[in-house]
């Protein structure tokens, strides 16, 4: 047994955090229990379902498989960092508009996987969306409305940028 707690510093949604935790404590548990960021959900707890997806240093990760010691110095984005009530992220708005969320357990992970996908590939094909979300399981929607949501979000971002371009002209 080890009573050794480590001091771990990282940045979550733009805010610097310091936590005292066992180095093998899962990032998922640190987010939920120590930082009270309960938007990130636990599904399978073994990297299969994607419910706990967050972005770490610009990469999508399953936070259930990250020992918090390996998050030292990392820049982490959770679903709480996407948007806020009244100022939803385009993906959140699209999930609302298209019925992309039902029970909601998979939704934060879906949103983070979709955010990662659109960050790398702003206009993905349906095949690319399916691959980008292949590690995120949903047992309610049948996935089609989730794919529709991502397509709608990509289109809305495109419209916004073309609006901005029009204004700029």
């Amino acid at each position: 047994m080890s009573d050794c707690q480590s001091t771990i510093r990282f940045c979550v949604n733009g805010q610097n955090c310091t936590v005292q935790a066992s180095p093998m404590k899962r990032l998922l548990d640190v987010l939920r229990e120590d930082l009270h960021l309960t938007g990130t959900k636990e599904g399978c707890g073994e990297g299969e379902c994607g419910s706990c997806s967050v972005r770490m240093n610009g990469e999508l990760v399953n936070s259930c498989l990250v020992p918090v010691l390996q998050a030292e110095g990392a820049d982490i984005q959770t679903v709480e960092g996407l948007g806020a009530i009244g100022a939803l992220h385009p993906l959140q708005q699209a999930f609302l508009d298209c019925g992309g969320a039902q029970c909601g357990i998979c939704t934060p992970g879906m949103l983070m996987a979709a955010t990662q996908l659109l960050a790398i590939n702003p206009h993905p094909s349906l095949g690319e969306i399916r691959e980008g979300l292949a590690g995120n399981l949903c047992r309610c929607t049948g996935f089609i409305r989730i794919f529709d949501s991502v397509i709608a979000a990509a289109a809305s971002t495109q419209n916004q940028s073309s609006d901005q371009a029009a204004h700029a002209r």
Partner: protein
């Protein structure tokens, strides 16, 4: 039962030298952990024995892909996302790119490392068949120095390998001499993402005037570890590909394959599918010849 994080010790020395010194000081006492896609799963399920873990994540000396004139070196800490994004690998060693794209999901590929995949030594490892048919060499390091061994000699039994207790897998070296080869890789699993292979087959071959003049075959989930299929290769080398050769190659593979029944599939199914994959590859070679 859920794993208890306090049951494990974990440190992150941050440099390769510090890790090697630790492994040399207490050989066999420390378990390296890279992206955690294997060990953290065991930990979550309460299956990880109380351990002293040394983190390799973020050690810059291990995360690289270096292209030389005659080979590409992949650092043990390179992730499968790194591999998929590498144009030189996609261009020269396409089976590696293909295998990398099959590993888990995007989130797993962001964390799973090449070194972890090989040292873990799963019989079903996705990257292994491709590395085997590209004649990969494994570079091992310790405070005593470094040595290179053929990847085909790396696995020595179920989850056993040729590493000494003070050694760390440093890199995989892939020779760039397969541009002329016909190449094949197919994995059969339950679904395209996340599924662990029921069986996978890889091949590199040269066919001259209808005769197989150079050939490597390798498989996942047909033995206790990923392995070359030397007897099946022997049944094909120097032979003209025709219906008779395909049949004798299938027979050789049936005799050589030693799969097991497990949670994912049966030995019988694995053997039949492996033979079908082999036949698919050989028929591709035939149709390629007809087309040219």
């Amino acid at each position: 039962m859920r794993g208890n994080p306090d049951a494990h010790e974990m440190i992150a020395p941050g440099s390769l030298d510090a890790v090697l010194n630790l492994l040399a000081t207490e050989p066999g006492k420390w378990t390296p952990i890279a992206g955690g896609t294997e060990l953290m799963v065991a930990h979550a399920a309460g299956r990880l024995e109380p351990s002293k873990l040394v983190s390799l994540w973020g050690i810059p000396q291990l995360r690289f892909i270096a292209t030389g004139a005659e080979s590409i070196a992949i650092g043990a800490g390179a992730t499968f996302r790194d591999l998929r994004a590498h144009e030189g690998i996609a261009d020269q060693l396409p089976l590696v790119t293909k295998a990398a794209s099959w590993i888990g999901s995007i989130a797993n590929q962001s964390r799973a490392t090449v070194g972890g995949n090989l040292v873990n030594g799963s019989p079903a490892a996705d990257s292994s068949p491709a590395f085997l048919v590209y004649d990969a060499e494994i570079e091992l390091v310790s405070v005593r120095g470094s040595r290179r061994i053929p990847y085909s000699a790396f696995h020595t039994g179920y989850k056993r390998n040729a590493m000494a207790e003070d050694e760390l897998l440093f890199a995989v070296h892939l020779p760039l001499r397969f541009a002329r080869h016909r190449q094949y890789l197919r994995k059969v699993g339950t679904r395209r993402a996340m599924a662990i292979a029921k069986v996978a087959l890889a091949a590199t071959a040269i066919v001259e005037d209808g005769v197989v003049s150079d050939l490597r075959l390798a498989a996942a989930s047909l033995a206790a570890f990923p392995t070359r299929l030397y007897q099946t290769e022997a049944a094909l080398l120097g032979r003209r590909i025709d219906a008779g050769t395909i049949e004798s190659a299938r027979e050789a593979l049936l005799a050589e394959a030693k799969p097991i029944d497990d949670i994912r599939s049966t030995a019988e199914y694995r053997k039949r599918v492996a033979c079908n994959l082999l036949e698919e590859f050989l028929r591709e070679l035939l149709s390629e010849r007809a087309a040219t």
